[in-house]
């Protein structure tokens, strides 16, 4: 696996899922930044943990140092990012869905239009649209 240099060494973190009210503003923000309104392109998934009264699971890409998704990609379309996480090379992706199935957190969302994974770019646009401080950008060391 090759490594691509990356200057923005940040990752998205869930500060505390108990602060989440389930408004989905982060999901809409992610989709909006990438493309359009709606939720077709969001890399984030928020769902209740079995009824909203028990709170929410906020599922974001953790930018693993040793990511499962990249290991199972048969075409090396997921390149390791310096500092953790992956970068998608859409030209190599064949839409097999291995990455989605391999992520134990379920953090690889799917773009049904392109039939390719939606991979978080750790841009932090969603953070600005979380009014409750659930999400934050965190610096990671480049190792």
């Amino acid at each position: 696996m090759s490594t691509v240099p990356e200057t923005k060494l940040k990752r998205l973190v869930v500060v505390d899922p108990d602060l989440c009210v389930g408004c989905m503003s982060c999901m809409f923000a992610c989709s909006r930044r990438y493309a359009d309104a709606g939720l077709g392109y969001t890399a984030i998934h928020v769902r209740s943990v079995g009824g909203v009264e028990r709170g929410f699971s906020v599922i974001v890409c953790r930018a693993c140092k040793d990511p499962s998704c990249a290991k199972v990609c048969p075409t090396k379309a997921l390149l390791l990012r310096r500092g953790g996480g992956v970068i998608l090379n859409p030209n190599l992706c064949i839409g097999c869905g291995n990455c989605r199935n391999a992520c134990p957190f379920g953090a690889v969302q799917w773009n049904v239009y392109l039939n390719k994974p939606v991979i978080c770019t750790y841009c932090g646009y969603c953070v600005d649209f979380c009014p409750y401080g659930v999400l934050a950008l965190e610096e990671v060391d480049s190792g």
Binding site: C23, M24, D36, G38, Y41, G55, Y132
Partner: protein, 592 residues
């Protein structure tokens, strides 16, 4: 008028479901959505097309329309779905709005509206996703005690977790209580006017709808800019902060202070237990979590915890959750003289479990208590002895409303209007246009507002808010009040067509709505928007008239004039003059 075109074609898709034949079809109606924007505007037209005005609301021939609008899934606080049907409670137009996940889920499933026709022979539930409808047998779900259990069961069986809505009825809907609700997710409702009974009559137990898709816009950078402005304004506005902090129960103490809090069937306008059931007290002692409807950063939904110890086992507790809001606190609390917070939560819980409208139920129990005390009905009718504040007995009565073991409960299940016609006590039957009273005795505006509001809801024209604006000031003349109410109701037709939550009406001003439509490729001036509001108002009024609405029947119950409001006793002459002017105004409007 309709040169507008929709960028997102999927919004114009109307899903028709025939429960009798178990078939469905989709029609594209771009002209309808481009002209009316969605929600109330579109639902009015679809109901007009599909509903025979003569039908029994509890027959399979009744039609239910669910509709979302151009802002759904696009802008924050566009978090409501509109339901329209013929109401089994009033026999007239039924319209109810709900939040939860339903609006976003419907649009994500690729439909702007769903039209439900016919009735099934045996119980069914609908699973709507990926462009199709599955009819699933619900016989085993029919008769399950708790509507919350239905949610739990379907959650495990159906796709799109997080991106779906689970709408279902409880036992009250199955038993055709005329004010049964439809419950969404946990603790949101189509509460008013008996949608739950309409589903029950159709043997429709639940609808699960969900999906995920992209909504194209005309101008992406313009869209991002407007979105950010709206989002900032919403999250920073004091009104929204208020609803986030304490939720709608923030209103308990201010209403009590001005003497506008209906208490014990409105025999009083102040409640001595207001402190105990205030938003502040619930937040302090019972609040477990605040949650939001999909795409609403405000998160006004307040969920309380009920922690109960099992009597037979030491250190063994049940921990349950229940949503609370101003209206259930009013209807099931102050109207019944209940100040025991824990007891009130249990009563609210029972009403949710069986799937009843909290407001109509509370008013029904309050009327029953007064009728019982006055000797119009006896223990033979009520089985138990209703007493103000006795929440345990009220829980028993809620169960009887569902099981209907005798003629009295069968009648009460048809609404307070019917019950008071049979047993007497119409003068203290708090009913407006056949619908039980909302929680504001703030002055003439509130009561006239309930009467002339096209769904007899406080949210039609916010008379309660107009009243509060004039506390300590000179109250407007009847004609001015009517003009204000009608203008507000006409504008709200635009908001409920887009569809945005009325709580954010301060943000979605005509100028803002006009600006927000532009990146969606829809150019409409403020003036055009206002004109559209009046057009939808007129269309709805015409539909109501076609369903047998009679302006000459509009009369508030006597009790309203007997109990002082923040402006003292409401004058019958004032109300009469206002209503006369209203009739004149409406006839003029219809002739233009």
């Amino acid at each position: 008028m309709s040169a507008r075109a929709l960028i997102d074609e999927a919004l114009s898709k109307v899903l028709y479901v025939d429960l009798t034949r178990k078939t469905f079809w989709v029609k594209s109606r771009p002209e309808l959505f481009a002209r009316y924007l969605g929600g109330t505007g579109v639902a009015t037209q679809l109901l007009k097309e599909e509903l025979n005005p003569e039908v029994d609301p509890l027959s399979p021939e009744n039609v239910v329309v669910l509709a979302v609008g151009v802002f759904t899934g696009v802008y924050p606080t566009a978090s409501k779905v509109v339901a329209m049907f013929k109401s089994p409670l009033t026999g007239n137009l039924g319209e109810s709005h709900a939040g939860g996940r339903a609006p976003v889920a419907m649009r994500m499933a690729g439909f702007g509206a769903i039209v439900i026709k016919g009735g099934s022979e045996s119980p069914v539930y609908l699973s709507i996703h990926d462009g199709r409808v599955e009819f699933k047998d619900a016989s085993a779900l029919w008769g399950v005690r708790s509507s919350l259990t239905i949610g739990k069961v379907l959650r495990e069986r159906e796709p799109w977790p997080g991106l779906r809505s689970i709408m279902r009825i409880g036992r009250a809907g199955e038993m055709l209580v005329r004010y049964a609700s439809v419950i969404l997710e946990t603790y949101r409702h189509f509460g008013r006017l008996g949608l739950g009974a309409v589903w029950g009559a159709k043997k429709l137990k639940a609808i699960v709808v969900g999906g995920k898709r992209d909504i194209p816009v005309a101008d992406i950078s313009g869209y991002r800019k407007v979105y950010k402005e709206l989002f900032d304004e919403i999250t920073k506005s004091p009104a929204m902060q208020k609803y986030h902090d304490l939720g709608t129960p923030v209103n308990v103490l201010p209403l009590n202070k001005i003497g506008g809090l209906p208490t014990r069937n409105l025999t009083s306008n102040v409640f001595e237990g207001a402190e105990e059931v205030s938003g502040e007290a619930f937040a302090e002692y019972s609040l477990a979590r605040r949650v939001a409807c999909a795409h609403c950063p405000v998160a006004c939904i307040h969920i309380a915890v009920i922690r109960e110890r099992y009597p037979h086992e030491k250190y063994f507790y049940t921990t349950r959750y229940i949503g609370y809001d101003y209206e259930p606190i009013y209807a099931l609390g102050t109207m019944l003289g209940i100040k025991d917070r824990e007891g009130l939560l249990r009563l609210i819980e029972e009403v949710d479990v069986v799937g009843l409208d909290a407001m109509s139920t509370g008013v029904a129990l309050a009327w029953t208590t007064e009728a019982f005390k006055k000797g119009l009905i006896s223990e033979k009718d009520t089985i138990v002895r209703p007493e103000w504040g006795d929440w345990k007995t009220y829980i028993e009565m809620v169960k009887y409303l569902v099981t209907q073991p005798n003629n009295f409960y069968k009648t009460l299940a048809m609404g307070v209007k019917k019950a008071s016609e049979v047993y007497g006590g119409t003068e203290f039957a708090l009913v407006f246009g056949g619908n039980e009273m909302p929680g504001y005795h703030t002055g003439p505006g509130a009561h006239i507002g309930y009467l002339i509001g096209l769904r007899h809801s406080h949210l039609d024209n916010a008379g309660y808010s107009i009243d509060q604006k004039y506390v300590g000031k000179e109250y407007p003349q009847p004609r001015k009040l009517i003009d204000e109410l009608v203008e507000e109701e006409a504008w709200r037709q635009v908001l409920s067509s887009l569809v945005v939550c009325f709580f954010s009406r301060g943000v979605y001003k005509p100028s803002t709505v006009s600006k927000a439509l532009e990146p969606l490729g829809l150019k409409m001036s403020e003036e055009e928007l206002r004109k559209l509001g009046t057009e939808i108002y007129k269309e709805k009024l015409k539909l109501k008239l076609r369903l047998g609405y009679r302006l000459e029947d509009l009369k508030p119950p006597k009790r309203v004039f007997e109990t002082p409001s923040p402006f003292g006793n409401i004058s019958e002459d004032y109300v009469r003059e206002a209503l006369n002017y209203y009739k004149e105004k409406i006839l003029n409007l219809l002739s233009t």
